[in-house]
């Protein structure tokens, strides 16, 4: 507009109104954006501030301490970090391959009509509220796994300490499986987009050279989208890390590390969800804030990592095109 010097405003008032309007819109939208940033800063600040009391008491030793004793006010995050790591590992090990296979089905195998329907249904899986999935987890899936899957795993792999005596329906293993169900739709939908983005020429080239469909998938589709798959898995991990409700419902709560997956446990998020309301002392509340701070840091790092991979990957792809 200012680059067209000979344009004159029709009337002075209109020009003034437009100037005010433009300025107002800019300020309003800028304020909204700044509010988003301020909100994020406030979240980090509040969580860390809440953790201050227990941080000054336990220091960094809190992270590895495995005691959680509300009567003597001694707290540590070790048990819950272990629980978080184990449940997330199960979720990724079970859910990851599943999600990639689903994405391959949706991008390479499924006939056009099936593609849309199955794709939508898989995404609907992500829409199930976690509390509903958790309810199903304790009352339906948990007992089923405990009565049918765990005894089998125990008899087949019982010599590995991980697969101990079957539980009664709430344990770390079941929590991991619930998390697997939660991350599958996320990982699958990202991977599908990745796989659909693989240049058709490369796929056709591989097939023309006589590769079977699987060889083409392995050599072209999977290998060219490896960083993207990593990012998808990391984003899934981020989701699994932070899930509090469904995990609290099925994991059974424990304050000590159990080697067997078929024993109760606790994750960072589930411990916060279970105890925050009924914390007996200011120190316990603060210790729970400390858990939240650890979870926040891990969550932020995980998401940053995924973003970095995604960004790099996109640059590489547009650079190659």
């Amino acid at each position: 507009m200012s680059t067209v010097p000979f344009t004159r405003p029709l009337t002075g008032t209109r020009r003034l109104r437009d100037r005010i309007g433009d300025r107002l819109l800019l300020i309003l939208t800028l304020l909204a954006s700044l509010a988003a940033i301020a909100l994020m800063v406030a979240i980090v600040y509040k969580v860390f501030k809440g953790a201050h009391l227990s941080f000054s008491e336990f220091g960094l030793g809190f992270i590895t301490g495995t005691t959680w004793d509300a009567t003597n006010n001694v707290f540590g995050a070790g048990t819950f970090l272990y629980g978080t790591a184990v449940t997330c590992a199960i979720a990724l090990l079970v859910g990851g391959p599943f999600a990639i296979a689903i994405a391959l089905f949706l991008s390479e195998l499924a006939p056009r009509g099936v593609r849309g329907v199955v794709g939508t249904l898989v995404e609907m899986l992500a829409a199930i509220p976690s509390v509903v999935l958790g309810l199903w987890g304790i009352l339906v899936m948990g007992p089923f796994i405990a009565h049918h899957v765990e005894p089998w795993l125990n008899s087949a792999f019982g010599w590995i300490p991980l697969f101990g005596e079957p539980s009664t329906g709430s344990d770390v293993f079941i929590a991991g499986l619930i998390l697997a169900i939660m991350i599958v739709p996320i990982v699958a939908s990202i991977c599908r987009e990745l796989f659909l983005g693989v240049p058709r020429d490369l796929e056709d080239g591989a097939l023309a050279l006589g590769a079977t469909r699987w060889e083409m998938v392995r050599g072209v589709v999977l290998s060219s989208s490896r960083p993207g798959i990593a990012a998808a898995l990391i984003l899934g991990l981020g989701r699994a890390l932070g899930e509090a409700i469904a995990v609290t419902q099925v994991i059974g709560s424990a304050t000590a590390i159990n080697v067997s997956l078929f024993e109760p446990g606790d994750t960072l998020a589930s411990r916060i969800a279970a105890q925050f309301q009924g914390a007996a002392s200011a120190m316990q509340t603060s210790a729970l804030f400390y858990l939240a701070a650890i979870l926040l840091v891990i969550g932020l790092i995980t998401n940053l990592l995924a973003l970095v991979v995604v960004r790099r990957f996109e640059i590489k792809r547009t650079g190659a095109a």
Binding site: L25, A127, S130, V132, E215, T248, Q249, L295
Partner: protein, 293 residues
Amino acid sequence: MAAVETAVLRADGRTRRRRRINRAAEVLANVAAYAAVGVLAIVVISVAQRGLGEISWGFLTKDLPLFGESGGGIAPLIVGSAILVAIAAAIALPLGVLTAVFLTEFASRRIAAPIQLTLDLMSGLPSIILGVFVFGLLVNGHHQSGVAGGFALSIVMLPLIARSTQEVLRLVPEAQREGAFALGASRWRVVWGIIVPSALGGIVTGTVLAVARAAGETAPLLFTTAIYVNTVTWDPREALPNMPVQIFIWSESADPEDHKRAWATALVLLAFVLVTSVLARAALIRSRKKLGQ
């Protein structure tokens, strides 16, 4: 010659193995996809089967049962959830849309980057953190309230609304902007008169999707509006009864009556969430197609 050709065409051991592996991979991919659909079906059917028998007019309109009481209903939960989500949308919708407008219409790449990053990180925050944060901000030292719960839910919705709005704003053809500018329209007129209206469908469906997501969130409400009365509450300054938290409480109970109530409430919640997200998705795909052309 012919003999050689048939010899080549017959699959030898290696080719047969390759084919077999290929077949196995295809079968596995099929199984995985149908297993995921199967899990969805099992969850939905489980909830429907167990919940449907409990749902009656009385169940939907009565107050919550007091401890140990039989019967009762979930009217306070439905009203409370609706108010909470409305509060959340009232906060997140303007903030999200304005942020998206700033990012697509005003911000240079360098200014946009940190805001975009913030939104991306916010959408990845564990929702239990939001509960802890809002507890520290609004509840600690005061008391639980619908406002606090709604605010916590708005943080879930904000990045979702901002992202979906950004996506549809980007779909508005550049020619429309340029045409309007060429006619001498000022920026705010172009934004409010042309860009936002043509993106309105997408913004609304994006918001509906965010509402469906927020309606099922439990963790942000667990410390902000979880201790409430058993009657219908309209005042957002009080803690509001709501479906997700009550399902959670009932699911942890040992009483089988409570489990029945949990299933029935879960059915109401699930039906709302699934129906709204299916409808919004369908609308979104349609409006994208319309804008894309």
